[in-house]
């Protein structure tokens, strides 16, 4: 089946078309305006292509005990686009993702040097509360991990812990619709989330992440545990999400990165960012020989 489907999906999510659609109005969202006011404008002049920079790392190093997982990574992630991180296993792409919302704090041995700026503010500053940070940067994991609760309670969880309990039904419905799951579950919201299929569970996890309306959504190989049909639904969804959110996705599937992303960062062994550019540039004409070898399957 794959050949047909891949071509279909590819048509729908042409990176260039997508980037062009985003260009006219990068900062029309009131949430983004507001956050610029709050956080200052230090990085807003720096643009990546045509979009405003939301996340920026400068000389980022990460160690697990004595093992270096990221080596001097500097890159700028544009707003309301899909940025893909690709590379072989152990190259540090997931580590980078988990640095952004400080999930690495949960690992005792992890140590971070360098800067990682979100809307201009270094997220590793002493006055940053990782809990507050994660409320603005949502995350979707590799394996669907719904709570052993009802579908409704899964989506409502983030709203509840963030005390956004007014109009909850409406917010839950909106999130499920946005995650393209509403029609399948609207009559069984009080059923256990564990009764859903793997692909539905992952869309539920996406609904759960967007219910609290974050600015950025991090996705750690969100389709790697899913079958091809469920995968293509998730890919379509990611394309839609980029209209409202900045999406950063780690994938080890290069075709997927080519299909869905606007920008691609290639990490190679040793936690080194080898090339970061527009996705079509990376896949059609990479500057770096090692990237070309990796893309064309000569190693990795």
């Amino acid at each position: 089946m794959t050949q047909d489907e891949m071509t279909d999906t590819n048509d729908g999510t042409d990176p260039t078309a997508n980037a062009a659609a985003d260009t006219p109005d990068p900062s029309g969202d009131p949430l983004v305006d507001q956050s610029i006011d709050v956080e200052g404008t230090s990085t807003t002049e720096q643009t990546s292509g045509t979009a405003r920079t939301v996340l920026e790392s400068r000389n980022l190093d990460v160690y697990y005990d004595d093992v270096q997982a990221l080596n001097d990574v500097s890159l700028a992630i544009p707003a309301k686009q899909v940025t893909a991180m690709i590379g072989p296993s152990g190259c540090g792409k997931s580590t980078f993702l988990r640095c952004i919302n400080r999930m690495n704090d949960l690992i005792d041995s992890a140590r971070v040097d360098g800067e990682l700026r979100f809307e201009g503010k270094d997220v590793y500053d002493d006055d940053v509360d990782p809990v507050a940070l994660r409320r603005r940067i949502g995350m979707v994991f590799q394996h669907p991990n719904p709570f052993p609760k009802s579908i409704y309670d899964n989506v409502a969880y983030g709203l509840r812990v963030q005390n956004q309990t007014e109009n909850m039904d409406e917010k839950v419905e909106r999130a499920l619709k946005h995650a393209a799951l509403w029609d399948e579950v609207k009559d069984q919201l009080d059923k256990s989330a564990l009764d859903l299929s793997g692909g539905q569970q992952q869309r539920l996890c996406i609904a759960r992440a967007i219910a609290v309306d974050p600015e950025v959504i991090l996705m750690d190989e969100p389709a790697s545990a899913l079958d091809p049909i469920a995968t293509s639904k998730i890919e379509d969804l990611i394309d839609d999400l980029a209209e409202d959110y900045t999406v950063v996705i780690v994938t080890h599937n290069m075709q997927q990165a080519a299909r869905i992303s606007d920008k691609t960062a290639v990490f190679l062994t040793g936690g080194e960012l080898v090339e970061f550019d527009d996705t079509n540039k990376i896949f059609e004409n990479p500057e770096n020989q090692r990237v070309e070898d990796y893309i064309t399957g000569k190693f990795g």
Partner: protein, 310 residues
């Protein structure tokens, strides 16, 4: 040549077969032993209890509110109420503290802190219960008096406090096992949504571990029901019927549980008298029935709340 060396697959050497049979027999005997012992205990308990009920009508035993062997009164209710009082009070202490300790160990403690605290809690479980009883009598009761509580020398409150402390390790260690087996991916999902550690502990980990936590409660309660030495030493030896008109007096005064009455009967001259001696078995089978029902309930609850994680 190949026909000469064809392996013999028709039968094994007889010695090997006999040895396998022997092993089978030894393992079966070991497995059957505990079942056989349990069954014979039940049968013997029942036989002597039947003998007791021939002398004392069951209605006098199960509904009587006085247990004075010398007067021929064998009402079990004051003993049952003593046991339930101790169980409920000790649960009020052990359940909240045990669960909170389990949450700390499973969710909050660093590796190093856990390495110190876990063995510490397990030592608590290794103290002989007679030591707890002695401690209740000699230290806890005077301490309660210092606090201004008018407790009797032998009283229900100090005994229950010590039973509660004794069963904390059971609650905390089994609950912690249940919480630790909640997959990390659920915690990460919570943290990723901006939940605090307290949110994750109370709204994700505890609900997901509920069946294990409930099982720990029931096991701890069964232990409290069966506890003998603490109550025999610190609670006194006079059965008291629950007095609902003055609730506090039940706790501050003395009382006696089913187990402690049994110890008393075995160790006293009553052991000679027929009905007095045989009351031991009637109390014993009542206690057995209560713990048996508790176990059934525990299995039901565990099955009802068993949650699958993925």
């Amino acid at each position: 040549m190949s026909t000469d060396t064809q392996p013999d697959i028709t039968s094994r050497p007889t010695g090997k077969v006999a040895r396998e049979k022997l092993y089978n027999g030894i393992f079966f005997l070991c497995a059957a032993l505990s079942v056989a012992v349990t069954l014979s205990i039940v049968v013997l308990l029942a036989r002597d209890a039947v003998g007791f009920f021939a002398a004392v009508p069951p209605s006098d035993f199960f509904l009587g509110t006085e247990f004075v062997a010398s007067k021929g009164k064998f009402g079990v209710l004051p003993l049952v109420s003593g046991t339930l009082l101790v169980t409920v009070l000790s649960a009020l202490i052990a359940i909240p503290i045990g669960v909170a300790a389990a949450v700390y160990l499973s969710e909050y403690a660093s590796e190093r802190m856990r390495a110190v605290l876990k063995p510490g809690l397990e030592i608590l479980a290794g103290i002989p219960t007679v030591v707890y009883g002695f401690f209740a009598l000699v230290y806890v009761t005077p301490f309660l008096r210092v606090l201004g509580l008018p407790v009797a020398t032998f009283n229900v409150l100090s005994a229950s406090l010590m039973v509660g402390i004794m069963i904390i390790p059971m609650v905390s260690s089994l609950s912690e096992d249940a919480m630790s087996s909640v997959p990390d991916s659920l915690r990460q999902a919570g943290y990723g949504l901006g939940a605090t550690k307290y949110d994750v502990s109370t709204s994700i980990v505890i609900p997901a571990a509920l069946s294990g936590i409930f099982s720990s409660f029931i096991l701890a309660l069964s232990r409290a029901i069966g506890e003998t030495m603490i109550v025999a030493v610190a609670m006194g030896l006079s059965p008291q019927m629950l007095d609902l008109s003055d609730p506090l007096s039940n706790v501050l005064g003395n009382g006696q549980t089913m187990t402690s009455k049994m110890v008393q009967v075995v160790g006293s001259e009553l052991a000679g008298s027929d009905a007095g001696y045989k009351s031991l078995f009637a109390i014993g089978i009542t206690l057995f029935a209560i713990t048996f029902i508790m176990n059934l309930i525990s299995n039901r609850i565990a099955a009802r709340y068993r949650e699958e994680y993925e």
